[in-house]
């Protein structure tokens, strides 16, 4: 077994890999339920019209120009219902759709209407009606209502939890690469060092608890070191690690993964280029998640959302700029799938926001609320008062989860 210290000792070799490493993070939370919830934050504004192309829309081909996809050729899209399709990279998601394990959403966005990544992600993660209203994440606020108050804490597989999972309900962080040795005399002494330091003391304790759990469950030598092995193009180790943790009997029940690489300003490559490859990497990650969850997949819902969509027309560099409405995804064995849910209004210039963006007709929070309510058993009261207190007349989507 490669220990953490061996990794540190072979730092020269590690350095070569590190430079190409993926900007991807994972986070977990312990829940007293058999249901599993995975949230994947697609950071960077995914182009919804490339991921879930509405190829049957009469304005689609003309508006998208060089970025338009069709069903012909090797790089053809996967048709769903004659109107919507899936990106060529999404073979696994297509299989899930066919197995009625995938719902796709369109013209959906957080309530944020400007075009800053950082504010948009803030809205997406805090669940506020505008950026910086809350300084904790909506998923963190949902931990107590989901029955997480048991003190075992939540986990981020990253240096620290992303905003989505940060807040009062303490979440710890863990990264699958960092497999340290079991407790040693040295760690006892470090504990003594932190005795008078609540922040670092608590941080250390939660890290050690998680390590023990991870050591017990890990049986795949290849998975022991995904932080070093994961390349930009390979999300499998992290998704597989997430699935394994979720599958363990006393493991976490909620996981947050964080995948970037969607900010396609230049040379987007919607059909066979950069974006299609990135979507394929995500697709393979999702397949690995499903495989490693085993029989728990049927109790699992995977929610994937991005901060906003991108412009309908290509820009001058074969890419797209920051937009508004876009796509979202709900996958998993627990999902009432096999459909696209969208208030579709077409792509005519006259219906576009500011003449350029796909409009937002559905609030992402309606999707979040629907999943929390029907999948994780969160009450209406908790949704309204603590998790999304400024959600106004947004109501939970119905019929997302299999009865």
């Amino acid at each position: 077994m490669t220990t953490r210290r061996e990794i540190l000792r072979t730092m020269t070799a590690a350095g070569a890999l590190a430079l190409w490493d993926a900007p991807l993070r994972v986070a977990f939370a312990n829940v007293a339920t058999e249901r599993r919830l995975v949230v994947v934050i697609l950071r960077g504004a995914l182009d919804g019209l490339a991921a879930v192309p509405p190829h049957g829309d009469k304005d689609y081909a003309a508006m998208r120009g060089q970025l338009a996809l069709d069903a012909s050729g090797d790089a053809g899209l996967h048709d769903l219902d004659g109107f919507f399709g899936l990106n060529p990279g999404f073979a696994g998601v297509k299989a899930m759709y066919d197995a009625k394990e995938a719902v796709l959403f369109h013209n959906i966005c957080s309530p944020y209407r400007d075009r800053s990544h950082f504010e948009g992600q803030n809205c997406l993660e805090t669940g506020g009606a505008s950026p910086h209203v809350f300084n904790d994440g909506w998923l963190n606020r949902a931990l107590a209502p989901m029955g997480l108050d048991n003190g075992t804490g939540a986990v981020a597989i990253e240096q620290s939890p992303p905003l989505l999972l940060a807040g009062k309900a303490k979440a710890t962080s863990w990264m699958p690469a960092a497999m340290p040795e079991p407790e040693t005399a040295f760690l006892k002494k470090v504990r003594a060092l932190y005795a008078g330091d609540p922040e670092l003391g608590a941080s250390l304790e939660s890290a050690l608890n998680l390590q023990n759990e991870a050591m017990e469950m890990s049986d795949d030598p290849g998975a022991k070191n995904p932080k070093l092995k994961a390349s930009y193009g390979n999300l499998v180790p992290l998704f597989r690690g997430a699935g394994k943790l979720l599958a363990s009997a006393n493991g976490p029940r909620v996981a947050v993964l964080d995948a970037s690489g969607w900010d396609t300003h230049v040379g987007e490559g919607a059909g066979s280029g950069a974006l299609a490859r990135r979507l394929q990497a995500l697709d393979r990650g999702l397949d690995a998640l499903k495989a490693s969850l085993g029989s728990h997949w049927r109790k699992t819902a995977v929610l994937m959302a991005t901060e906003f969509g991108r412009t309908v027309r290509p820009n001058g560099s074969g890419g797209t700029d920051h937009g508004t409405g876009g796509a979202a995804f709900l996958l998993g064995g627990a999902v009432a799938g096999g459909k696209v849910r969208a208030e579709w209004v077409g792509l005519k210039p006259s219906v576009l926001k500011d003449g350029r963006d796909q409009p937002a007709r559905t609030d992402l929070r309606a999707l979040f609320m629907g999943v929390l309510a029907d999948h994780m058993g969160v009450s209406q009261a908790a949704l309204r008062t603590t998790i999304f207190p400024d959600s106004g007349n947004v109501s939970p989507m119905k019929g997302l989860i299999r009865a």
Partner: protein, 466 residues
Amino acid sequence: MSLEGAIAAHRFGLGARPGEIARASADPKGWLLGQMNGPAPQPVSPDGEPFENAGALVASEDDYKVRKFMRKGEKKKGLKGVKGAEKPAMKDGPGNLRRKTYMREIGARFALGFTTDRPFAERMVRFWSNHFTISTQRHKIMMFAGDFEREAIRPHINGTFEDMLFAVCMHPAMQIYLDNWHSIGPHSLAGSKRQKGLNENLGRELMELYTLGVDGGYSQADVVAMAKLLTGWGVYDGRPSGFGFYAQRHEPGPITLRGKTYPAGWDGGVAAIRDLARDPATARNIARKMAAHFISDRPPKDSVARLQKAFVESGGKLHALYETIVGDPAAWDPRLRKMRAPVEYVTAAMRAVGWPRGKDPHRQEKHARRLIASVRLMGEVPFAAPSPKGWPDDSEAWSGSDGLLDRIEWAKTVGEEMGSGISAAAVAEAGLGPLLGPVTKSVMAEASSQGEALALLLASPEFQRR
């Protein structure tokens, strides 16, 4: 050794080298501001070869692309590429030219951080480099990252904000990173011929991150206007700066940005950037960032206001900001409230042990480069931030469980590698001075070896914070 001397070396510097706290103690503020004259020191490559300038790097990047193309052609057996192209030797193959350039630069940068006797100047270099983030997340940037800091940041740390902003905007690294070199005015000569057009990326981040701030008062229309003003600014092979202005790509004007109309052409873009540099919102954005960097994640309003006033009244003279923050009592609070980011942490550790401690230059270089992998494990790679926002500066971003365990493990490795033949207690006394707490002292006293005691020092709360 005074408490203020120790705070000067740790909070404003990069952590104390042996003897540094004593030197700073007589006049801590004078010691800091005395470092802030003229350009920041430049890193020196251990192989003695000078680093290339931006123009030469543009040419190197072109060579790299040609080689990559040729190799691709060979792999595909002439499908599209060049048939029978000579196979480049592995050593100079694609990837290596970019990586070699990057690693050489970063190794030298680490070494400068470990040894400099102007640590406050070096701290500001890193502050500004992170403010004006460029990132190897776009792999092309590997070639230019080190040069960006050497040519656009270091010469200007004691100049004006405006000078630095222009140097940044005109550097190939920024042009490439935020796509402006591809941006073409839709009505320009080039734009009307080709089906190419505007790219908003630099126009947006220039206002949102580098100057006004996200709440600084601009609209989507202003983003488009700024992008238009920047069309034609691009990368140019054949002059030392690597930068050029291409009139045929420039969007014809006049162009209105934030209510003011600018003429088309080079002068319009320059005037617009100058106005952004001098805007009160920019002063506020920079003031907030600097106060949070040195004081705490949520700095006192008064401290921010003082920095903002200094920025406005001095016309953006950076030295005025340094005088203000060094003169602010809130910045001298003895509580250590900011967790060091990984590069800072590793740098402070190497300074405390008096790096390189007699290692020959070849091994010094290797070691400095090896430490890149260490900071990677802890979550930070120089010039590789995940977004144009840069690496997080808030303390909480670095105090999470996983990163902490990585630091502890690393401290242990350093203790084992560098602990023999030293007195850890002496390193602690000289390195932290009055900041060394009784708990750390007593835990260190019970260590089983000098190496373990050193590891415990590096893992201690007072060493991880500043």
